[in-house]
Subunit: 431 residues, 4 copies
């Protein structure tokens, strides 16, 4: 595996932190051993954690008002892969990349696959894009894609999804994530039921093209870009569609795609119970689909999601393997730094959830000892597992402090010098 960041630099950085890390690790080890927990088992568990990164997350994001470009943004899928390799080299938690077509469509698929292998990267779920019109596209998606009233536009969208599956197969992916922005901005714009019928019809054609060992993930979202009624707006619709389509169809939960006040961890529990939890798009949000860094706004919620995942894993055993992916928009941070930090935040919640004493919790629940049951979760959440995460990285060959190592490496300066700046604010005056 090729190191994008100089391996010696990472070692030097780690060496500087080694004494303190070991001391912190030992201190935490003592605390945990007094609670009957073996820190090294947790560290080993942390080393098994993986979350995919989105290729598009390597660029700077924006809003409809403006995009403020960052330095050295990747110009193509190969440069995106290079950035993703940095993230995985330093965190050792992101061995796979999720691609988005046609944005990431390579002229030579095998070249891309080979380049990824060199970088030690694999490919997670591939994503189709029928929420934009591409240059030269025959039929517009302005009024819908998989749900369009125009049969030719629907067929075009179906064909694109099937092409995504083919590209994914060539790359070694095992799943297609379908998110469509289809919906209506006004009451009356579309027949709500008719739109879902057309969606199911289109999805049946895509489903039919899935290889045997593939899944198709249905991603719901409450609103935006549609502002009155989104065809796949909630987990209920996603679940009903996945059930209608068949066993390969599952539901994908993006943490920012729900109505205000929604209890997301309960949706996770429901989908797991009914066998339809496909995977996640991790991020955080305060208002809508804010796509902020995972765990930055409500870290306890992220922990509670993983608490449900731990419960489901206990019940379902090895068969329970939802896909984990980050999906964030980095508007004011270096995308590489945000993705590294976010991968660590998700891993943190994973390790904290492993600290929950599930037998004790079940017993407290059995007794309706509500206060202590709540405290049982809180105790796990409050544990600062930072030293475990750092030690897991070091033991796996990564950086004790990924952001510090990244900054020390000068990677951003280096790529900025070869990747020209991308355009920023549109002058179109959309507000």
């Amino acid at each position: 595996m090729k190191s994008v960041i100089d391996a010696g630099l990472v070692q030097d950085q780690n060496a500087k932190l080694d004494a303190n890390l070991q001391a912190d690790y030992d201190a935490l080890g003592g605390v945990l051993s007094r609670r009957g927990v073996d820190i090294d088992k947790l560290t080993a568990l942390a080393q098994t954690f993986a979350v995919a990164v989105p290729s598009w997350g390597a660029g700077t994001g924006g809003t409809r008002f403006a995009r403020f470009p960052g330095r050295g943004e990747p110009r193509n899928v190969f440069e995106k892969m290079e950035d993703c390799a940095v993230i995985n080299q330093l965190t050792r938690a992101t061995p796979a990349v999720s691609l988005h077509f046609p944005w990431d469509k390579p002229s030579d698929v095998q070249e891309l696959r080979g380049s990824a292998e060199e970088l030690g990267l694999g490919f997670d779920a591939v994503n189709s894009n029928t929420f934009q019109d591409q240059v030269g596209q025959e039929h517009t998606y302005k009024y819908g894609s998989l749900t369009s009233m125009n049969a030719a536009a629907r067929a075009q969208a179906v064909a694109h999804n099937i092409e995504c599956i083919e590209l994914g197969q060539a790359l070694g992916s095992k799943a297609l994530t379908v998110w469509v922005g289809d919906g209506a901005n006004f009451p009356g714009q579309s027949n709500l039921r008719g739109a879902l019928e057309r969606y199911l019809d289109s999805m049946r054609s895509i489903y039919a093209a899935l290889p045997d060992d593939w899944n198709i993930f249905i991603e719901h979202k409450l609103f935006e870009p549609a502002f009155y009624a989104t065809t796949i707006a909630d987990w209920g619709t996603s679940f009903a569609c996945a059930t209608t389509l068949g066993p390969k169809a599952k539901c994908l939960v993006d943490l920012g795609h729900h109505a205000p006040n929604t209890n997301i961890e309960m949706i996770v529990a429901r989908l797991a119970q009914f066998g339809k939890l496909g995977g996640f798009h991790f991020n955080d949000s305060k208002y809508g689909d804010d796509d902020l860094d995972s765990g930055s706004i409500n870290p306890f919620q992220l922990f509670l999601v993983f608490n449900e995942l731990a419960d489901a894993a206990l019940r379902e055993g090895a068969a329970f393997k939802p896909a984990y992916m980050l999906d964030q928009s980095h508007n004011v941070t270096d995308p590489i730094e945000s993705l590294m930090s976010s991968a660590v935040e998700v891993q943190r919640a994973f390790v904290q959830s492993a600290l929950v004493d599930r037998a004790e919790l079940a017993s407290l629940q059995e007794q309706n000892d509500v206060l202590q049951a709540a405290q049982c979760l809180k105790r796990a959440f409050r544990t600062d597992v930072g030293p475990i995460l750092a030690m897991a990285r070091v033991r796996s060959g990564g950086a004790a402090d990924p952001v510090a190592a990244y900054r020390a490496s000068g990677y951003r300066d280096r790529v900025a010098s070869v990747r020209p700046a991308k355009a920023g604010a549109s002058s179109s005056g959309i507000v």
Copy 2:
């Protein structure tokens, strides 16, 4: 049919309004005929409309902070029926009553049925109550009813629901509505998945006791009384449970039981599409389960719900018969006045939705003429169908102006003189 309000008084009241009503009706008739619509057909349609009233709505409601009693509140189910008879006599739109057990459990069921028949009233869905502990109850529901960790409490709750079915059968009901407040106030308090498993288990026992021609309605609610996680919190869970239980199980939509910003009419469309729309609890709300008078806060939303119902009726034909019921809490109005006005508001939305030119709408949608499609709905909504509703009442023997007739009748004074005031604010200091 016995008239609780003097029939002559109603006639006199109508006579006073007759000339103006006829003139307004004719004016509207002209407007509609210029749009190709026959007003008398609409009036005849309006006369077919019916929505059930909740027995408990006849008393003054309250909040956890206080209840400010009204005058002449009904003390028992017979007095509630009398109040409901007034509502139906004057509106001719509420021929059935929905009872709540054990609150409304009569010592003699046949006496109640006979009394209802005399008043011209029937019985809609019956409701069970396992969200409170009744005096002398063996097992508490403090920590859940159908989902309780305590098998005996679950069995008690199941038995109560089966008793409700038996009472309902004796009264001529055809459905049981099950709403449970079960849930958790804290993360960790209960195993989210375990709770739903126990719920399904309990519901299977109740379902098994349903007569062949009965339905069971599952009513979901986002929160309150549980404030962290409610077992049946959303339509997705309700739908998954109804699907699991079988064809007699359907979903009930209460307009106030959703997360902020939820598109409720789309949930209606989804449930209709997947064959699980059982019925409605109509009311209105701005914040949570506010239980305000139907149409008082967002009348356009109520119209859009009926627009979906009209679409479904067109698709499904006579088989499509969701149950309509009011479910409101009248804290600052005379409950009889609020229930009359609210029945009329729901009827208004029903009639307005019949004004939508569905062929034109479909054609505009086909052409993606978004603006005119939106206007097509708006035109129906904007039509002031008040004269149609008044004429429908008069033609069916009701009051042109139900609230005015009710006030003129002195009914509230009369019952206040024989029904002593009920206690108001608790002194317990719950805030």
Copy 3:
């Protein structure tokens, strides 16, 4: 005044509708006269109504995911003015345009003013733009404009606002609207208090540059583009700042800039009471700052806002003159059609609010006759004042049916042939 649409065509269109309009008008006149209301007075009142249109609204809007261009979009401020002239010619309700700088900055201000005068248009509040970086701009606003930690960026933003005032003066405007997207995406990103201190500091400099007869409007918004903390996030902050700055500073209410469930009409009442209601950006929304057509989602709310304005006008007299402006994003409709329809919707709410019998309402409130007080408002809202609005347009020289006349005119085809299509979807892959 130059007619962009052939005046004869409008007359012909009106002539075709004349008989029906007169009949509908007479029918409504009868209904109103039975309620003691003179329809012609209402029509005259409707003729006085005016709402400004936003120059940027003439182009097709979009979301961060995509923009699907429309045909014949205006390429510069002169073409925008031409489109706005169409809107005013047909609706006679939009005599002023609100410009946005630097988007609309003309090379020759007097030429623009002259062109506007020819078209019969004036200029409403001007808008500054410090939420985007413009090509060649010295200091970035990526981390804030009026609140930036960088004093030079703040100075640049202040200077831009002062330039806007100067441009506005030359054009005959009387107000500057300041909306900044400044804020933070993460807890810790900025010192919340420090940011507001810098904002006030910057605003003081702008305030100092205001001519004597100008106002400055502070526009708040809950979120987007900032997703954790927006510096001017709510009316409380806006009010505190306007109070701090002085009498020329007032608050602007955009209907889509509030937290879910917010009672917007109460904010209107509060600002009116405390003397700080500057004006409005009208639009409608279901989720966030959706910028949908006014009255398309919750028409009753729009009516309730105007009900407060009517109350305030009664109390304050002629001095009460908040600025009315549309601010919408037209993603799936012809912007001209949406702006015409929306102006009419706002006018509709204005006329309906004039139908409220304020003496009766006050009396019902005095008696705590809650139900009838609510009905008193509803009665006004339910009145289909469409014929009044149409007659007002005709009497003022506009079109009985503006959208129909516009379509008949072939204006869009005409401008599409001379204005080349603008670019649509970005290929940057921001999601």
Copy 4:
């Protein structure tokens, strides 16, 4: 100071935990010292923390649906004080009690004061109650209290508030908290502006009765019990009123009284900046005014609130002293346990906020190093300061583990044997 719980038992309990606590404390001390922080200074700081407990919180709460009584609930203010003494004895963080009148009105004020002194307790802000009608009350508050259309009801409410001040003076309180439920359930029910004018009028009379060294705290709340428009609904209204009334009037922030998605810590920053932050009602919530235990749902938000308080304290110095009080409803837990745990949670956030390196944070903000600024806060939040809190309690004479000590004491059994059970579910059928 009288020990309600046997002091020896507490010592014994502490002794059992001593070795582990010391080890955990030393481990944390090491971690902190490697970050340049002296643990003992933090422990000393933790010992200075105090938050008042609400007398009404000692009883079991409920919802409008039901109240499920607990064992041994206090029957009067003396028993409430005894329970509060337990809380303070074990946590050493709750030396004052907030009373609610007339619930807590003693027949002999001096007896109450003496009893409190014996228990080592003082009195925090007193609370008035005009949201309920009391038995024998002359004028109802059904349609409002301080805002009632009925001048006599307003005068009665004013007089009650003045009586609260007098009682508070006799007890040694220094502030009156005014929360009114006044508002409307329907558009039209009340004139929104008129209601606030009457409110200000009434408040001026109460303000005039304030002793020189007193404050009056205005508590806003979005909704409930009013469901359409609450007179004091948001911080903007609270702030405008406090400004109007004068320097003794300040705003009180209850964490559960805001619209969904509101950034509460920013409201704290704003009120501090404009000199109007009076104090807090701490609790937690997911949906509305859920009144859950502090920190149980979103502990990071609680931390961010204290982060703003730390910033304000740094700016304002010793003059900055907002009042801290818990305000929770304990429906499914032992109220004493919940209040102890909650006091500790608030204290935890206080200590964590002291761990923020404010100079480093300011420097990162200055550089727009967004990622590291966010991490700077997170690092403080993630620190498990549990050993500091436990050691602070032990050093102050409290319990290392308050809940365990409380359970070991058998206090609940003891009081249950002398305090008869209170009634639970109402049979009135309010839903």
